[in-house]
Symmetry: C2
């Protein structure tokens, strides 16, 4: 029975979505799991493999993606520390998309049978996990709108606002000052752009004084401006009011 503080973080996020009794919370914290390390660009769940686990991100950055024949990839969801990945396989045991580590990451791998028996005994916990998965779907929905209808600049702005805020909520820096350990090529995979155009888009934002980067640390100098460019409206993240307010 592993018990990292990131599981606490996940449980308190669930509790935000659906209030959970102390007993339910304890049951979640008692979930068994193995700590695993995955190197940058390594598979967490290989494409087409059987799914046996959900994954709690403890450190690093992992992504679900789908790959096309041309070899191009599209990131579907990015998971930051404190996030649980592949929860949707609890009710549907099929690996629909692969999961890869974006950076070298530490994960807690939680066997699905343990989660299944938990949700069968505790309907409220099931509801909370379903709610969590629904927010993931809402993030994906917004991402789709971004990729489909916003130009490169807006897409980049939206992604940075969303990740900044999510990292802040995860206790990893501030929404306008955070480390995003992704190469420009990986950003391109997330945004549906070529690395070259990612580069030029970032340069334009830097030139306008909207943000600065030092290595992979993003410092957003004009958050409101960036949010306006990206048409970022964080409702879809279903965050508690106090976390949104904090400038």
């Amino acid at each position: 029975m592993v018990h990292p503080s990131h599981l606490d973080q996940f449980v308190s996020r669930l509790n935000q979505l659906v209030p959970l009794s102390v007993d339910h919370q304890a049951a979640l914290l008692g979930l068994p799991g193995k700590i695993i390390q995955v190197r940058a660009n390594g598979d967490v769940v290989a494409p087409g493999s059987e799914v046996e686990n959900a994954y709690l991100v403890i450190h690093g950055l992992i992504a679900r993606f789908s790959q096309l024949r041309s070899g191009e990839r599209q990131l579907i969801v990015l998971h930051v520390p404190g996030d649980m990945a592949d929860l949707h396989t609890v009710p549907v045991p099929r690996a629909i998309t692969a999961i890869e580590a974006v950076t070298t990451s530490t994960l807690m791998s939680i066997p699905l049978p343990a989660i299944r028996s938990l949700v069968r005994e505790r309907p409220t916990v099931a509801e909370a996990l379903w709610a969590y998965a629904a927010v993931d779907a809402a993030i994906l929905a917004r991402w789709t709108a971004s990729v489909g209808r916003q130009p490169a600049r807006g897409r980049m702005a939206h992604l940075l606002c969303e990740l900044g805020l999510r990292m802040e909520c995860a206790g990893l820096g501030h929404r306008s000052d955070f480390n995003l350990e992704m190469t420009q090529a990986q950003l391109g995979d997330a945004l549906g752009l070529t690395p070259v155009h990612v580069n030029r888009t970032l340069q334009a934002l830097r030139k306008e004084g909207i943000l600065t980067t030092i290595d992979r640390r993003f410092i957003i100098q004009q958050w409101d401006e960036l949010a306006a460019i990206g048409e970022f409206e964080p409702d879809y993240l279903v965050l508690p009011a106090d976390e949104l307010r904090a400038a």
Copy 2:
């Protein structure tokens, strides 16, 4: 207590995903609901409104979409008859995206409290509904990859393959011969393209003899070819093997 045959269809879909006892099925079929009509382009759920219902499509076509400042819209999911829309609001009571009728549609509106009390009493039903929502999310994930990384031709091909197959499974024609009651502008909203380019893309497919349209009836003359162009691999729809095989 309304009891249209489309509710049967929905319940048997749930039963495919998670086997349900006769008693559970009866409870689902006993869900209360009101039949409503929505005209083409009318709101089912207005942007930002309170959510009170899930919606079973009985006739027509409805879509979740998100709208950007420019007025452009991106369709997120299309729902064909037999589909249940907005199930994700069962655990998360927030209207994250609006829902509109693409064509004049008949829906059964099911109050969320009825669904909630059902899932609280019957964990297996909850699991089935969660599984259903997870498949919706998988469809969205594939859609995102399409919009992000495929050119217009591939996007169009993928959409037509997916909708053809889904309509066939819903008993509405054949995967290579179905009515898709959408204007080219609406197709553009789904694909992230302008109406003009939708037109030219369809023309190209027609010229190559891959498909024909008569009004809004799509006749796919070369299904395999179209699937190859769209890189369509229907695993993500989680359909039973026999429905996939049927040519």
